[in-house]
Symmetry: C2
Subunit: 204 residues, 2 copies
């Protein structure tokens, strides 16, 4: 793939190949596919990316990705705002929403504590969670982090941080396989594990 006769083509291929899990050959396949589309389609693709990058923001309450200052879940009056489900990122929000088992709201940490990757507690939305627990009248905080060493560490850290506050802290049931990432769990298992959540102390 070193002798691409067109610089324009090469640039596009190289950009695609920078994406995770996309090699040079896949990148070339994707670019050639786009070349066969109408010019309008390609512009729409490019426009969707730049528009998203320029205008997307974090919800000021739950820190989920949102088009508005307050996301559609936090601004939905029909949700139970006293129940907060703590997750890593928006993919976990989507996974839980797709179970249709949960009517509370979320708190998106933006990752998990992982010293190996240089991610400490201060890099995550932990202080804002503690603040929410202090200022909002919460009935329950559900920890729904991945069942990995990093996820468990983060859960334990949050549990300690939230100790002084009079709000029950629960953890989603270990229905999901150990070592499994939340986003890949099937909907039934994930839904059940939200319904069968247990006090954090009993879950470890």
């Amino acid at each position: 793939m070193d002798n691409i006769s067109s610089k324009l083509l090469e640039n596009a291929v190289n950009e695609f190949a920078l994406l995770p899990g996309i090699g040079k050959k896949t990148a070339m396949r994707l670019v050639l596919h786009l070349l066969q589309q109408d010019e309008g389609r390609v512009q729409q693709f490019a426009h969707a990316l730049t528009q998203m990058k320029e205008n997307i923001q974090r919800c000021r309450n739950c820190h989920n990705l949102s088009d508005e200052p307050l996301c559609s879940i936090c601004s939905d009056a029909r949700r139970q705002h006293a129940i907060v489900c703590v997750v890593e990122d928006i993919r976990d929000v989507l996974a839980i929403e797709n179970t249709h088992q949960y009517r509370g709201v979320y708190h998106v940490l933006g990752g998990k504590i992982s010293p190996m990757d240089g991610v400490g507690p201060s890099d995550l939305q932990i202080d804002s969670l503690v603040q929410r627990a202090h200022t909002q009248e919460l009935g329950e905080i559900i920890l729904a982090l991945s069942s990995t060493p990093e996820g468990d560490t983060t859960s334990f850290y949050l549990y300690k941080k939230l100790q002084g506050i009079q709000v029950p802290i629960t953890s989603i049931a270990r229905g999901i396989s150990f070592g499994g990432e939340l986003e890949y769990a099937d909907e039934v298992t994930l839904g059940r594990s939200i319904l069968n959540r247990v006090p954090y102390k009993e879950s470890v």
Copy 2:
């Protein structure tokens, strides 16, 4: 993935998911990766795509993708312009270029005859190949199409079309791949490679 709280995010995910081999989950992973990059990186990505789509053209001689009216291979005086290798698309050009074994030029058909996909001879650069054979002084035309029913059909069609012209038509050698185990080769390939055996001296 139906409840994405952000329309901006959803648009970007949907655009990625239209690409071949990219599902919704992969699309989301790619989009979240881009969201974590600098705004400049995302703009560069979008720019590379639109620039390519707007400005790329087909070489007027070999119909390969090119930034100029005449591609870098056709305009290279060091190549043997009397030898033309006929291939399906630019990926085959790249594959052959990477072998560093070929110093001739190419003719890119833009696909292969495939009635199932609605691709007939008139959709490919066949007439322009016949014209090249008539107007340019060629010493050899090498057919380097895939060894599939469609590739074989296309090769045969080209062979018939080029019948009247006094130029040798060859086909790339087919047989057991170098480094390949005999027991894993398919029966047709193995059978053919026995029938088409060559003197040992020529085989190394």
